[in-house]
Symmetry: C3
Subunit: 428 residues, 3 copies
């Protein structure tokens, strides 16, 4: 009975067209070209590697796409249980006429060829968007991205700022900044001017968010111009900063970004809790982990100082979800944002979805984003979320609270689509 | 089938009369006077504010109650999904003849008037207690509360000690202490004498518990009289203490309270994990949050030093529930106590209830308290808990373990009522 | 419908014969002799003590077994709700012809006598193994265990190293090491030689794992020979080490153990997060707890430095399960291992099982171990796990993902049995 109800709700949720509020899509090569683009997604390479496949086999320079797939396929057997594998099967069935249960050494070549035919057919990018119900997709753009040559109403720019905050000490980053802004940064005033150029460029190109990922120990706090000035002067001279100094510089840049977001009315996406390069011998993008000892209390100054900035927040560790629920319930400018990475599996999503839907104002919850690198993944990832959402709406609202199905669906549609438009409005 | 079973169990649990072991009821004004008292509960003002309503609109001095409700009602739409809103609808239906699904700009005035008629009718306080099945309610009394003018068998005094532990540095607190005890504290001996007067006063008035809320970083440890003496002398002279000194003073006072609890055989309720005033621009009582990085290991010295004191413990962060389960399972003097504040939503309660019921001796679990400020909230809050409890008893005991329904109900009744009497016995 | 499915799956899982990859069985006295051995398991003594039974009543020297049971039985009433009590009833029903619902002052003597008849009957050890479906059981052997006088194919040795890492400062430990290895440790070279003797002895006796339990604050890091040399010299002279020095010595020994595991291709079981002797007045083995503030990031150097060593990891705090899931998903040498102690209750197992089965390669998960001290406990403990596993397979795989029952069962059998053989292979 409840299963029937869940299916009815899911069927309705499946009709909702989407704006995907966070992805890593390259708008110049948004769709996959071969199955190697799909199996090259870090979830498959890192899980195959974790199950025993050598990194060198996967990342051999100049590897032919078909050979790459051939090397990964035998390891898929070991990860058939994972939800990530389920995404893979889901998209192969939806897009590539695949009807098997598993991808094996016996059937992968046909799948590869079928996929190739589909992926190389004219208009595939439009068709995958249409079949996935996607109206628009937020990008993750480097600060010096020219943002040219693509349709910014379909692929919405988003200023990603990790490099500025955590790698301004690298001369490469400063050179990129100088090239992008025509400002050679030697002082806080210069830096603010450079930021002004960057933000102006992004806003002019239709950007609707600034974004950053942050390590677990980061604490947001303002840094005075005198301190910042010394550090900016030092790095301009090529002086190596100590760890503490680098942290203070990062805090300075971060705070300045928040000020710019306030000035230009841009939401500032915070993705909190990642430790980079924990497993240095891991595959590309399969090296990062986290420290669960992290709390949103580390952002209290920020939330208090910028009431006019909306902070859509993702947390990497499930243990921080209650922080997120509670801070969103209290702070008007904190918004829950999707289910990130290691917390993006059904059991964690279900708990997190349930606790958010019952305690955070319904207008302050962005249900899901794909985080994808290639368009084909939106469909199975959103399908996973929709299934969980349907279950939570069925059990916690229709069964437990006696809500009508229509009312539950309205809540579902709000978190799935409506709030993306509300939190990230197009600029007038 | 399981749903039917849950309903049968819930129906039985609904017959259990209650002693509410923790509330903020003012015994001189226990029931609400208008709907503004109900919508003025911080859950509604903070959620409405979080959803966008300006604090100034809510807290305008001299605001007429009806106008206050008129201002909050439009924001209720944004929080209809929350369980707190569900409490509101539940109590309006139970007490005010409300039969709508939601409270809107179209129907709120009639509700306001209907509520007013009920709330101002003679004998309402008795009726709401009776309809809610409440036999008695624990209070939260300031240390200098005269405890006079109310029926202490219905409204049971409880000595709340946050001010003593964390605000003894304020001259206002010391003045209140001097007035209440006739002791001018300048030394540890004075302080212990003053505490003796306070505890004597409370015990004479029928108090059944001492209570305190504690910040996440607090570590319970004894402080010697020499150290304490210096600090007490310093504050008596008006010397400003440093942060470390204030912490040590707090530890000293806290430990002395535990000693008094031991001497007078009072349980000491610890409510662990709150950070006060994190969102300083928030509405009244809507400014506090927490840091999930907290562990009961910080209380090991206390639990070891006072085997004769019962510590009913509430934890603010769901992540600490396993600490609580495990410490209650090992320490005879640690008892699980309710579901507090940010952990008082169904998804967290269900997990916490389930893990407690399967691992902590059944005699050491206090299922729930209302934490309410006005009597009307006991009914919907306990209803939420009873619904979760019925589900856990059904699934984990009747279905999984093949318990009879009667046996499961006996367990339910024990945590709902019996253990309150066992843990907080009336004094002979 | 789902319940029927769960039962079918459970029925099949019940047919799987087991290798128990972690226990505290004494191979010279593996089975219980009387009901006192069973009720003497720390779960019962600590829960009875927690519920009010004095330690002195339980641990009185020279206490007759029947009298011990007589003293514990009245306290069982208070812990009937616990899952540990459920294990007790389960094994009494399975082995001792018990058909009651509870053990009471009225029926315990008959149970005691019935148990005695069974336990003292010839061949009981073989029968309990057979009835429990146990093919082999891993032990927990002191480093100086002679490993003689028992069948090491049935009782598989495992080198437990807590004493070496955390108690080498004690002269008793060093004497035991000298006796066991014929090496008097005064330098790093000596110590490595002594370890070589120990590991050689264990491997020759068929050991398949090295194991250790670790406190929450432990951080794995290499320590240079100069530093280690100073510390080893100091303790050889009887110099008392400071806390920091003791920590560094522990880090040194731990790292050397990992090196030996690498050399001899032994998996290294890490059981992470226990604080010893938190409740010093507690019953035997009922004194330890934990600090939930712990992260696998503390082991990043270890996992990176020893890619050739498999680390089956158990975490004490449920809050660390996501660390374990994520580190196992990324690091090829990290494997999830069972559900330990305070996380070994159904609600935690279910969440942990669900999150592991959907995100960690299926070949890298060891479902369960008994951790038992007496053979009779394998049956009810594995029964608890099998019930949870059947539910997760039914809901998350058969219902949610449309897997066939056979496919779900193959996954279940892999984590229940197959992976034990894969992760801990017998040495050629």
């Amino acid at each position: 009975m409840t299963l029937e109800l869940e299916r009815r709700l899911l069927n309705e949720l499946n009709q909702v067209r989407l704006i995907d509020p966070h992805s890593h899509i390259n708008p110049h090569a948004a769709a996959s070209k071969t199955l190697a683009d799909i199996l090259g997604y870090h979830y498959y390479t890192e899980l195959a590697h974790s199950a025993g496949l050598a990194r060198e086999r996967i990342e051999e320079p100049g590897l032919d796409p078909k050979e790459k797939v051939a090397r990964i396929v035998p390891s898929l057997r070991d990860i058939e249980n994972t939800v990530q594998y389920n995404w893979l099967i889901g998209l192969c069935r939806a897009f590539f006429h695949f009807d098997g249960e598993t991808i094996t050494e016996a059937n992968w070549e046909k799948l590869y060829d079928d996929a190739l035919a589909v992926l190389s057919s004219p208009g595939w990018e439009n068709r995958v968007l249409d079949q996935s119900g996607l109206d628009a997709i937020f990008l993750t753009n480097d600060f010096d991205d020219p943002l040219a040559g693509f349709d910014t109403s379909r692929y919405i720019p988003c200023l990603r700022t990790d490099d500025l905050v955590f790698h301004l000490t690298k001369s490469e980053t400063r050179t990129r900044l100088a090239v992008a802004t025509n400002v050679d940064v030697g002082s806080p005033a210069d830096f603010e001017r450079a930021l002004g150029v960057l933000f102006g460029h992004f806003v002019a190109a239709g950007a609707r968010a600034c974004a950053i990922s942050l390590p677990p120990e980061f604490e947001a706090t303002p840094v005075g111009p005198a301190t910042a000035g010394k550090l900016l002067t030092a790095i301009a001279k090529g002086t190596e900063l100590g760890l503490d100094e680098r942290n203070i510089l990062a805090q300075y840049v971060f705070w300045k970004l928040a000020e710019k977001c306030a000035e230009l009315r841009l939401p500032f996406d915070l993705m909190i809790g990642v430790n980079r390069r924990v497993y240095e011998a891991g595959v590309y993008q399969g090296q990062d982990l986290f420290d669960s000892r992290c709390s949103l209390i580390q952002y209290r100054r920020l939330f208090n100082a910028f009431p006019q900035v909306t902070f859509p927040i993702s947390v990497l560790a499930h243990g921080m979800n209650q922080d997120l629920v509670s801070y969103s319930w209290i702070f008007p400018n904190v918004v829950t944002n999707g289910h990130w990475w290691y917390s993006n599996t059904p059991a964690y999503i279900e708990l997190d979805c349930r606790t958010r839907l019952t305690a955070v104002p319904q207008t302050k919850q962005i249900g899901y984003y794909s985080d994808m690198y290639k368009l084909e993944f939106a469909l199975p990832k959103f399908a996973m979320y929709r299934q969980v959402l349907a279950r939570v709406l069925a059990q916690d609202f229709v069964v437990e609270r006696n809500w009508s199905e229509d009312r539950a669906l309205a809540l579902g549609k709000l978190v799935l689509r409506g709030n993306v438009e509300r939190v990230f409005p197009p600029r007038a």
